[in-house]
């Protein structure tokens, strides 16, 4: 904006330039002039109902609210004049009339906006001696605690629900003295972003339930961290007391998470203290687990790894740190094997020949400026909640968003959800490609319907369009075909092409070379190893498992069971002790998770975000990079003499010099391999089953989001074929595995398909995420 278009105002004698139409408070905030406020929040609409921000404006007959007063040229404002101060003091006195002043027993005490403003603008002694009102506290779920007597009716939480979360669950009922904020009827607040109302609430009315009465703000020290579950890499603060993470809060970063974080990033820290944490090394002897000291355990591990040698199979979580991923591949390759992979839930690897490094394809912040977005096989609202939020912002600004999925998802904005069976998704995308003018064998035979034509028109005419492949596409047995088609459509329409990847560090894993076909820096490997799916199709003798629970984190749990059935040299580096690790592994080494270790995560847009460890690992656990380093030394692999994780990082950095992320598909693959049976499973990983840590976070597991996941969802027509009724128990059989679920009739599911969740203990015995299933009634 040029200088002429700005207006000039004067605040407390200072001259300020401002954008016409900006609210006064935005201008003073930018200039560092403090005006007290409760209801104003830069990310929410202006409601101007608390009146705390009253200031004196010259020529105005009475004090004006700075949050709702647009600036005008020549405006003269006084924020600290006697009139302004009297107005602010008066407002505060009114606000405190019904406030219980129970700061000594309030979790917000010490970090409360009301406390702060009362200190600065309030009277020392209250003149109010009448009775105060009391408001009952609704139970809004396991994450947010309520003390509504403290509420000052700023409505930030209500506006957050309507404007950001996109579901209005909270509201202001009653009026005057009887007005209260709540849900009116007993119901929980279920947004995947609900925890943000804890930060928004300026008083102690909404606080964190898991953190309730655990610590005082002034006892905590703050350190930086990065969201460990998804490709957003939300910036976090850890609040630590006496070597324990007490809670997690957002660290503002407009380019990544703005000022929000997902509930998953906020509450998963509870897993650090889970009873399932592995605290000491364990070895399996005659089917029984025995504790052993670290030195013995490491020697044993080194022996096993050396024994496995060139046959070693390494499976590592896509949420492991860059350092861990790098050392894991270095160790594996140093031992003569090239079988390493982080793409545990990927269903198809036929595009591995293309040299590209998969990423989001565009900056996260740009997503909200798209005019057209197409998501193929994914539900970012739950899988990458803050990318879902950016898409919602785009939709609110008028973008057309289309989903091509095997089922309809609950979205918080209007979108065109095209539901197709897994094979139908490929056909639809081929149809879209044809409508756009892409050529090729598969495309030539595709059927182009009106929906394809309309979408093709949108993509061609959009100023800014993008096509994304999500988590469902990732697990699709014809991923290579979906990628190829989507890539060609993007090229033909000049749209961005991106991947919403699994885990917190999928980009980092590729850069670190934790894949069978790719060395550090993404260089093509001369000897290609087996990918995750191939590794599990043979009997495994020796393996190294890092940070993953094989059955629940892999594409095909039944293959895990079979391939590991006679394994004797399986070393697991794990933070959690799980059923499937107990049956697959022979030796378990406890490692730190999240705040317990330093490391680097590379998010979807390619930011390398390094953080330091904030607490010591539980029990005798050690940071995984250190364990890997020692294993490198003990197995005599060269180049494992690191003193700290920064040295590892520098080595990866050097390998990645000049490397850029790229989603080019190259040759591609248009050879459809997936055949649908009479009833096809759609394996979708629910929000709170994404990785082993979330699955051990107790409060998240108690949410409604987690509770309604162990269901078999089919549409009415399919239910009739199999005579299923809603709520009835059902046995699902896939291969030689079986699962007991409850039927849920959901008209959003493609016909002849059943949504059977993956990543849950209940379905951990089944086969691949996509495949034929049969049903048996008990």
């Amino acid at each position: 904006m040029t200088d002429e278009t700005l207006v000039t105002i004067e605040v407390d004698g200072r001259e300020l330039k401002a954008r016409p139409g900006a609210m006064l408070i935005e201008v003073t905030d930018a200039a560092g002039i403090n005006i007290p406020r409760f209801c104003y929040h830069k990310k929410l609409s202006v409601s101007a109902n608390c009146r705390m921000c009253l200031v004196e404006v010259e020529k105005a007959p009475k004090p004006m609210p700075a949050c709702a007063t647009p600036v005008a040229n020549g405006m003269k404002v006084k924020t600290r004049s006697p009139t302004a101060l009297a107005a602010q003091k008066g407002t505060l006195e009114f606000l405190l009339i019904n406030h219980p002043l129970d700061c000594p027993i309030c979790d917000q005490g010490g970090e409360c906006e009301l406390q702060d403003v009362a200190m600065g603008y309030g009277a020392g002694v209250s003149r109010y001696i009448e009775k105060k009102r009391v408001v009952s506290d609704p139970d809004i779920g396991p994450l947010v605690a309520t003390d509504m007597t403290r509420c000052i009716h700023c409505t930030r939480c209500v506006r957050f629900g309507a404007e950001i979360a996109g579901i209005r669950e909270m509201g202001a009922t009653g009026r005057g003295e009887h007005m209260k904020i709540g849900t009116y009827i007993q119901s929980s607040v279920d947004s995947e972003l609900s925890g943000n109302i804890i930060d928004l609430c300026p008083v102690g009315a909404l606080t964190s339930k898991p953190y309730r009465f655990q610590a005082r703000a002034w006892e905590l020290t703050q350190s930086d961290a990065v969201g460990p579950h998804d490709a957003v890499g939300s910036n976090l603060y850890l609040h630590v007391r006496r070597d324990k993470v007490m809670r997690v809060a957002p660290r503002g970063n407009e380019a990544v998470n703005e000022c929000w974080i997902s509930d998953r990033d906020r509450f998963s820290y509870e897993a650090l203290e889970s009873t399932a944490r592995l605290k000491r090394p364990l070895v399996k002897e005659n089917g029984k687990w025995r504790e052993l000291p670290w030195d013995e355990a490491l020697d044993l591990a080194a022996g096993m790894l050396k024994g496995a040698g060139a046959g070693l199979k390494t499976l590592i979580s896509p949420s492991a740190t860059l350092e861990e991923l790098y050392l894991a591949q270095k160790l594996t390759r140093g031992l003569g094997s090239s079988h390493i992979d982080h793409r545990l839930r990927q269903g198809d690897f036929r595009n591995d020949a293309s040299p590209a490094l998969r990423w989001l394809g565009m900056p996260i912040a740009e997503i909200e400026r798209l005019d057209v977005a197409v998501v193929v096989g994914g539900n970012p609202r739950k899988d990458q909640p803050l990318i879902g939020h950016r898409l919602r912002k785009a939709a609110m600004a008028g973008a057309s968003i289309t989903y091509i999925n095997p089922c309809k998802f609950d979205l918080n904005y209007g979108a065109d959800q095209q539901v197709e069976s897994p094979a139908g998704m490929v056909k639809r995308l081929a149809g879209l490609a044809k409508a756009i003018g892409v050529t090729g064998e598969l495309v030539a035979n595709a059927v182009v319907d009106d929906q394809c034509k309309a979408l093709a028109g949108q993509l061609k005419n959009a100023g800014k369009a993008a096509i994304f492949l999500g988590n469902i596409a990732n697990a699709h047995p014809d991923l290579a075909v979906l990628e190829t088609l989507a890539g060609r459509i993007a090229t033909a329409t000049n749209a961005f092409f991106g991947f919403l990847q699994e885990g917190a560090n999928a980009v980092g894993a590729q850069l670190a070379g934790a894949a069978p076909h790719r060395l550090p820096g993404g260089k093509a490997a001369e000897t290609q190893g087996k990918n995750a799916r191939r590794m599990l199709s043979d009997k495994i003798e020796g393996a190294l498992l890092i940070g993953a629970d094989p059955a629940l984190d892999c594409w095909d749990p039944s293959a895990v069971r079979q391939s590991f059935s006679n394994a004797k040299d399986v070393v697991a580096l794990t933070a959690f002790r799980t059923r499937s690790l107990e049956s697959c592994a022979n030796l378990m080494l406890p490692i730190g998770w999240f705040a317990e270790s330093s490391g680097t995560l590379v998010n979807g847009q390619g930011d390398w975000q390094t953080f330091a460890g904030a607490v010591s690992p539980i029990g005798e656990a050690r940071p995984a990079w250190k364990v890997l380093r020692v294993l490198g030394n003990l197995t005599d692999v060269e180049g494992f003499d690191y003193q700290n994780s920064a040295e590892v990082l520098n080595e990866v950095r050097a390998a990645c010099e000049g490397v850029s992320l790229d989603n080019a598909i190259g040759e591609g693959c248009l050879d459809v391999q997936f055949k649908e049976g009479p009833l096809t499973r759609i394996g979708y990983v629910p929000l709170y089953a994404a990785d082993v840590a979330v699955r051990h976070a107790p409060s998240l597991q108690r949410t409604a989001n987690a509770a309604d996941s162990a269901l078999l969802r089919v549409n009415g027509a399919t239910a009739r074929i199999y005579a299923l009724s809603s709520g009835a128990p059902i046995s699902v059989c896939q291969g030689n595995g079986e699962a007991q679920l409850m039927v849920c009739i959901d008209e959003g599911i493609a016909s002849d398909c059943a949504l059977v969740p993956a990543g849950l203990a209940a379905t951990g015995g089944l086969g691949p995420m996509f495949g034929e299933i049969t049903l048996e009634k008990d």
């Binding site: 409505t155 309507a162 996109g166 209005r168 509201g171 202001a172 009922t173 009026r175 009116y184 209007g414």
Partner: protein
């Protein structure tokens, strides 16, 4: 709050609106819906609640409010907000005859406490209560807009003004 429900907030647009309420009630609500632009169905909420309340012996239930929400494409909480804000809506069962007593400023200075005291004594029910025989509900309301002839009460659709204890007795005797 004044948000337009959609598109800001996700609304599950109910396709089976025809299964909500009776055809007569729907027709009455539709008359009000028609007065507003198409995307502002929710503007008819106050009339819809009134119609539905009248059809349900003078009070609303959460279920009825949910149906109003579904019928007008609103989040249920937005309907609860309206219904709990205005004193004309009853959220609990009330007697057939409801006496709304104004105790706001003008009525107060003109003796509304005498009116309240007399009504409470005669009916044997306090403000906010229903008589033991279930025939009368006594309710305190804010200004009825009848300040010029305060103190005032409202029974049904009728205002009674310049009240004295004797006047009240006469009114109630007639209505008994």
């Amino acid at each position: 709050m004044s948000f337009k429900s959609a598109p800001m907030t996700t609304i599950e647009r109910r396709a089976d609106k025809g299964s909500l309420f009776t055809p007569e009630i729907r027709a009455q609500i539709d008359k009000w819906v028609a007065k507003y632009p198409g995307e502002w169905r929710q503007s008819a909420v106050m009339w819809a609640l009134r119609v539905v309340q009248e059809s349900n012996r003078g009070f609303l239930t959460p279920e009825l409010m949910d149906n109003v929400a579904a019928y007008l494409d609103m989040p249920p909480i937005a309907v609860y907000e309206v219904a709990s804000f205005y004193s004309m809506y009853e959220l609990k069962p009330v007697a057939k005859r409801k006496i709304c007593v104004c105790t706001n400023v003008s009525c107060m200075v003109r003796g509304s406490d005498i009116v309240v005291g007399h009504l409470e004594k005669r009916l044997g029910a306090k403000l906010g209560q229903t008589t033991p025989d279930g025939r009368w509900t006594l309710k305190e309301v804010e200004c009825l807009g009848a300040c010029g002839d305060a103190p005032a009460i409202q029974i049904g659709n009728k205002y009674y003004e310049n009240l004295t204890p004797e006047g009240i007795d006469k009114i109630l005797d007639e209505l008994e």
